[in-house]
Subunit: 342 residues, 2 copies
DNA sequence: CGGGTAATTGTAAACGTTTTCAGGACCATC
DNA sequence: GATGGTCCTGAAAACGTTTACAATTACCCG
């Protein structure tokens, strides 16, 4: 492969390896002439430094490790897009691995990547993974995405799940919906738990509002099945509030299949505002989460800590969410602005 | 960080570094007793080999490089899922980078990854990138996904684009559609070109079938806009055939917004069969592409070449596509099976 | 009981960089 | 013209592994 080493360049350019290294890296303490000459020969020979050898001595890899729970759906492609884009912009590589839900898997993945990365971006919303994350953050700069903020000891960028669910619920109630079916996320998922909590808190303020709680796992299929079960029940809910958009898509599919009109017969809403949400039939009312931005900030923080030695442990942020009203809850028809709940 | 080196383990276990290395790697030429002792101390100290140092001498990195054109939508999350899963299963890491459309960017990305990966999986359906891919394959084991097969000199796994488009078109014509609007993919995209070719070849067999050609770039937004333009035209097409599902979603959105019924007024179909296609309203008739399998096979080939030295240059495969008939073209209503075209 | 063989272990070189340290050239200043 | 300083360059050590080779040990068989 890349058989051409720094030695070859040095010989060819008539200088020492030290000079080549300097000319190629910072360029300091090297005459402009020799620098150009070295760079020219390096380019001509197609020289590329061996990153292993370099990281051996510099103790840096120029790579960020990314650990994700799984890779289904548009949410994660958005997230990865933000991460990848920022990593490239800042001159870092991205080592990606997924399917790490529990603590054991996280630890194993971190072990595998040890020495190959300078730091980590981890999304692991499962409660059980928290100890492993704390352990990880003890030995590596790490940014954790979407973890409950209270589980401190590592840098986190959270999502305004609670607030988003609160405004969505207020919106639903203002529209006149009283019987709310909530399709949950996976057990132990902190994001989903916060969303449910927001819903319950607002619902609790209203005597006539009832909440049904349905199983779900964030995948389309589970939204589809939960909806089918709801349709088999004696009374139809007013609205099906899915803990994420993917399940809302499944719900819409099941309703369409059953000939139930949305939003006339049943309203549907989601959470995340993935890109396709606006193109659905009907366009999905949901809570906007700036997914790609999440990845962007995470990498920016990490690289900042890596290159400037900025302390990272205590950093904390919450990206705000916002209600996006489209047609799937009947909003356009009833004009919620005039009827805002107390 | 990982300050514990092989030397520490050696000292602690009372053996030489060579013995530690042997005990930890193959385990050959080491007494069972010492092997266990070494492994125990290594585990106790939390020793993890420095991958850079190792790859320096073994000339292997245990990592596959993945280059993708961009990361939008569900297609790529499916693809990455297949790649990631297989890489992990075979004990390889995955270095991912995207947004590499033209030849220059491909070359730059390959340069960046040089020395960090053992081989490449590349998806780069742009015609202009072919020379760069050929150059890449000269120096690295590489599997190219979805390239036109005729651009040989590297291993390729293609998609049965032409055949898929042919059966879709036959299906559409059998359903009675005559005025077909095709929403193209990006200029120079070989996949999209093959799909269009399949459509045109079949349409050419029928005197009364006309094809309109609309701009598109594989993104939802472009399907949405192309459809809006079509609706402004004097005559409505019978069917809007989108070169991928993402654009079909955009088309469905535009039609819903305009109050045009699908499939009653206009039929819509796509290509890829991304997971959400079946949940759309109406469920999307499309051509199934085993996206994740594509990634699985690519990594399997690559790792096979890497570990067994299996020659890879000439390997060639085409994953078959298949028509998936759902409701968006009115199939269920008119029963295509009775009216199959000549 | 001695010699040979096989198996286990240790020593040291090598991989390709970066970087410290020292040497040398050149210039300016006195 | 000597001296001091600055700037450029080179020699060599170091990073943490793997592995060829040498050395030691244990064992078996004659």
């Amino acid at each position: 492969m890349s058989a051409v080493t720094i030695r070859d360049v040095a010989r060819e350019a008539g200088v020492s390896v030290a000079t080549v290294s300097r000319a190629l890296n910072d360029g300091a303490h090297v005459t402009l002439g020799t620098r150009e000459r070295v760079r020219a020969t390096a380019a001509r020979l197609g020289y590329v430094p061996h990153s292993g050898a370099r990281s051996l001595i510099t103790r840096r890899t120029g790579t960020v490790g990314v650990l994700l729970p799984d890779l289904y759906g548009e949410f994660f492609s958005e997230l990865i897009r933000g991460i990848d884009q920022t990593a490239q912009r800042l001159g870092f590589h991205m080592l990606l691995a997924s399917s790490h839900s529990d603590a054991r898997e996280i630890a194993a993945a971190v072990g595998n990547m040890r020495g190959r990365v300078d730091g980590f971006v981890v999304m692991s919303p499962d409660r059980a993974a928290m100890p492993a994350l704390a352990e990880l953050a003890r030995t590596y700069p790490a940014v954790v995405l979407g973890a409950g903020l209270e589980h401190g000891s590592f840098a986190t960028i959270g999502i305004g799940n609670y607030e988003g669910a609160v405004s969505m619920t207020r919106h639903l109630i203002a529209l006149g919906h009283r019987d709310i079916a909530f399709v949950r996320g996976p057990d132990g998922n902190l994001e989903a738990a916060d969303r449910l909590r927001g819903l319950l808190d607002v619902a609790g303020e209203h005597r006539d509002v009832t909440v049904r709680d349905c199983r779900g796992d964030f995948r389309q299929e589970s939204g589809y099945q939960a909806t089918q079960e709801l349709l088999r029940a004696s009374a139809r809910p007013d609205v099906i509030f899915c803990a994420n958009d993917a399940m809302a898509i499944g719900a819409l599919g099941a309703l369409h299949e059953a000939g139930v009109r949305v939003p006339d017969d049943v309203a549907v809403c989601g959470f995340d505002d993935i890109p396709i949400a606006q193109y659905l039939t009907p366009p999905l009312t949901t809570v906007r989460v700036p997914i790609a931005d999440l990845g962007v900030s995470a990498v920016e923080w990490l690289v900042d800590a890596l290159t400037n030695g900025a302390p990272i442990d205590a950093r904390r942020a919450v990206v705000p969410t916002s209600l996006v009203v489209r047609a799937s809850c009947g909003a356009s028809r009833r004009d919620p602005l005039r009827r805002t709940a107390l």
